[in-house]
């Protein structure tokens, strides 16, 4: 895989845990690759299957959903539903012949700044190894 390939990776982060952990990674001045772009949602339970599919469709090389630790979701069980939906999308991508590893679900608490950075690094490396998305982005 050409080393200068810079993947575009979307991260749906829940406001109470993952987004807070991302901020903490910032205030601790940790370091992770800039390929990650975060979209905040009130709870990962709000991430619809269509969001993940539209992201892949629009040309994202990778998408991940980051929610609270299981059992600690601010809205009781949103993160459990999110994981089920991510698995559904993985299965769909597999059927379409696209590497299911491009989509992933992570759980972390809002105090795990270092973990957020770790996830960002891990996903960027994984997508770099997988190479650009086979879905070529046509104009319009």
């Amino acid at each position: 895989m050409s080393q200068d390939f810079e993947p575009q990776i979307l991260a749906f982060c829940c406001k109470y845990c993952a987004y807070a952990a991302a901020d903490l990674a910032g205030s601790m001045r940790l370091n992770y690759p800039p390929n990650i772009k975060v979209i905040q949602v009130p709870c990962t339970g709000r991430v619809d299957i269509i969001f993940l599919l539209r992201a892949i469709e629009e040309g994202a090389d990778g998408v991940y959903v980051a929610g609270c630790l299981e059992g600690e979701c601010h809205f009781v069980g949103g993160n459990l539903r999110a994981r089920k939906r991510v698995n559904y999308v993985k299965k769909t991508l597999a059927e379409l012949g696209i590497e299911p590893e491009r989509v992933e679900m992570f759980n972390l608490s809002s105090a795990m700044g270092p973990r957020f950075a770790e996830i960002a690094i891990e996903m960027t490396d994984r997508i770099k190894k997988l190479g650009p998305t086979p879905v070529c982005r046509l104009a319009g």
Partner: protein, 222 residues
């Protein structure tokens, strides 16, 4: 309600392999309730097909819409000036949908996106179970509300086949032996000897085996 499962994506892709412009039609009836053919699923199917096509470099145009139901001509008619300009139309309704559409628009090609399976209900969010086989002469009152025709693998009406173990049917251990339930319920209510009542052989003509059926309401049909 009618319960269906969505067809595997590969199968749908093959159906529309050489179409360039496709319309996906959801149905707000039973298939929405069983989460397989509503507007949400229509959008998901459309997006999946677009991804598949983009990946193979053969882009396509897909639009999504949804009808109140696809089993009434008036709703089907709503697509009058739309259905023409597509190479193929995928209906996500139960089996009735594609047929009503084909009857209304003979020149257009219609493809089913779901496999219609059974009449049933939600035993739990996300799990639906068969309850009725549409045999045409309902006799569940003889079995305390537990229909052996739909829920016994062999549709036995005069007692269990004896192959069940621990209350599960011999064909699969996640299928409940309905006779096991019927007998236990009768014993609990002390009416076990109801089963001694002679049940005449079932007249299957009212079922599908008697050929395609119609239902005519004299007071309505003009």
């Amino acid at each position: 309600m009618i319960v269906a499962d969505r067809k595997p994506l590969v199968e749908i892709q093959e159906m529309v392999a050489n179409s360039r412009k496709i319309l996906v039609i959801g149905c707000k009836g039973c298939v929405t309730v069983c989460n397989v053919g509503g507007l949400k699923e229509a959008e998901i199917l459309a997006s999946s097909l677009r991804i598949g096509r983009n990946k193979n470099g053969k882009p396509m145009e897909i639009d999504e819409t949804v009808l109140e139901r696809q089993c009434d001509p008036e709703y089907i008619a709503q697509l009058k000036d739309k259905v023409g300009n597509y190479d193929a139309v995928i209906s996500m309704a139960c089996g009735v949908g594609p047929q009503f559409l084909s009857e209304a628009y003979p020149e257009q090609k219609f493809f089913p996106a779901v496999n219609t399976k059974f009449f049933g209900g939600a035993v739990q969010h996300g799990i639906w179970e068969e309850r009725c086989a549409g045999c045409g002469t309902c006799v569940i009152h003889h079995y305390d509300g537990l229909c052996p025709i739909a829920r016994c693998s062999k549709s036995l009406q005069h007692g269990p086949c004896g192959g069940s173990s621990k209350g599960k049917c011999e064909i699969a251990n996640d299928v409940v032996c309905i006779w096991d339930l019927i007998v236990r319920k009768k014993m609990e209510q002390g009416r076990l000897d109801d089963l001694r009542l002679f049940q005449p052989a079932k007249d299957w003509r009212t079922a599908r085996d008697g050929g395609p059926r119609r239902s005519i309401r004299e007071e309505l049909a003009s």
